[in-house]
Subunit: 235 residues, 2 copies
Amino acid sequence: MTTARSAPATRERICGAAEALFMAHGYEATTLRSITAAAGVNLAAVNYHYGSKEELFRAVLTRRLDPMNQRRVDLLDRAEREAGGRAVACERILAALLVPALELARDPRTGGNDFLRLLGRAYADPAPFIRRFLSEQYATMIARFKSAFALALPHLPRKELSWRLHFIMGALSYTLAGTDALKLIAELKPRETANDEVLLRRLAPFLLAGLKAPLPDLSEVTAELDGALVAPARR
Amino acid sequence: MTTARSAPATRERICGAAEALFMAHGYEATTLRSITAAAGVNLAAVNYHYGSKEELFRAVLTRRLDPMNQRRVDLLDRAEREAGGRAVACERILAALLVPALELARDPRTGGNDFLRLLGRAYADPAPFIRRFLSEQYATMIARFKSAFALALPHLPRKELSWRLHFIMGALSYTLAGTDALKLIAELKPRETANDEVLLRRLAPFLLAGLKAPLPDLSEVTAELDGALVAPARR
DNA sequence: GTCTATACCACGATAGAC
DNA sequence: GTCTATCGTGGTATAGAC
C-alpha cells in the first residue's frame, strides 16, 4: 500500500498471474508454486498478501465480477428510467443481463473469453467457499432483474419466474464456460466458438423464447413418466 | 474377479465409496485416502484395481452414464418407429432426452439426484481427461438426437440447430448440477429443488420454446453493442 | 511493512514384501 | 490380492532478513 518502490506491486503481479493460471487449469489444479513462479515472487508472498489460496481466488473473481454486475444494474437502471413508470420490455432486460458479459469477453485487457470460462466453471464447483462467494456476489443483482422481469411478465407466477431465471443463468454460464466437450458434441469448430458476440446473439432469442413460453402443466406430477414429460404419448 | 471370499468384492466397495465422495466434494477435492477409508480397504487397493484416480473416476461415471444414454437412444428409436417415416415431434424427442435423466435421478439405488450433480460438474471441469471422456461418451447419442431434431425442424439451419442443442445440454446439465449458489440466487427453498420431476417439467417447456424460437439476426454483428443485442434501443 | 527461506503435514503414486 | 514403506509435490505457517 504505502510502498515507495517503483517496481509493480507484488500483490498485483500475483493477482494477474493467478488469473491466467486459474483460467487455464481451474482452481484445484493450479498450484501456488506455479503462480508465484510466474509472478516472479516468493512462495510465501501469496499467504502474506492474501492469507490463503481461497482468498486469492476470491480476489481474482471479484476484480472482474464486481464491475460487470455493476454495469448490468446500470443498464437496467437506464432502461427503467427511459420507460418511465411502464414495464421495460423483456428484450431490453435480457440485453442488460447479457451485454456486460459480452463486453467483458471482448476486452482483451480482462482476459477475454477465458475469464467467462473460469466464471462458468466456478458456478458448477462444489467447493462451499466458491458457492457462498458467488451467491453473495450475485444476490442483489439478480433480485433487481427478477423484479424487472416480474413487471414485464405479469402473468408469470413468481416461482415460475425464479426457475426461468435459474435456467437462463445456467444456460448463460454454461455456454460461456464453453467446455471443449460440448464444443465437440455440437460439432462446432473451435474458431467459431471464439466469437462470443455471435454466440450471445444466438443465445438471446433462445432464452427470450423460453422466458415467454407457456406455463408448464404440473397437475400430474406423480403420473407415469415415460413419454408424459413434455408430450403425452401412447405406447 | 476370481475371488473366493464371501465379502463384497474390494473393487465394488471402492467404486461405491468413490461415487459418494466424488458427488459430495468433486473430483480434485476427493482424496484416495478418504475413499479407501470409507470403503474399508487399503490405500494401495485403488491403484491395484483401477490403476489411477482418473481411471477410477471414469469407472464411476461410466457405470451410470452408459445405461442412461442407451435408454435415451432406445426411447428415440421407439418414437421413430411409431412415427413411421414421418418426423418425430420435437416434444417427443426432447422427452427422450430428459426422461432418462429424470429416471436416473429418481432411482435411489443410483445415487438419486447426486449423480446428476456430479455429472453436471464434470461437464464444466477443465481437466482434459474428463472432457475427452465425456465427449466420447456423448458423441454418438448427440448425433442421433441432432438428426431427429433436424427432421422435426427442417427450416432450422444445421449450425443454428447445433447451437440450440448446445444451449439445451448446457441448461440441462447446469440445472441438474443444481449448485447451492444458484438455488440461493433464485430464492428457492432447498426442499423444492430436491424434486427433479417438477424441475424437468418446468425445464421442458422452456427448452422447447427456445428450440422453436425465431432465427437470430446476425447481419449486424459488428455494430455497436449496447442495447442492440436483442432489441434495438435509442440512447 | 515487505519479503524470503524453510519446515510441516497431507496428497497421489508406486515398489516390493507377504 | 493385500499391505507397508517411501517418494515427489501440494498448501500452509513461521522465523527472521531487509
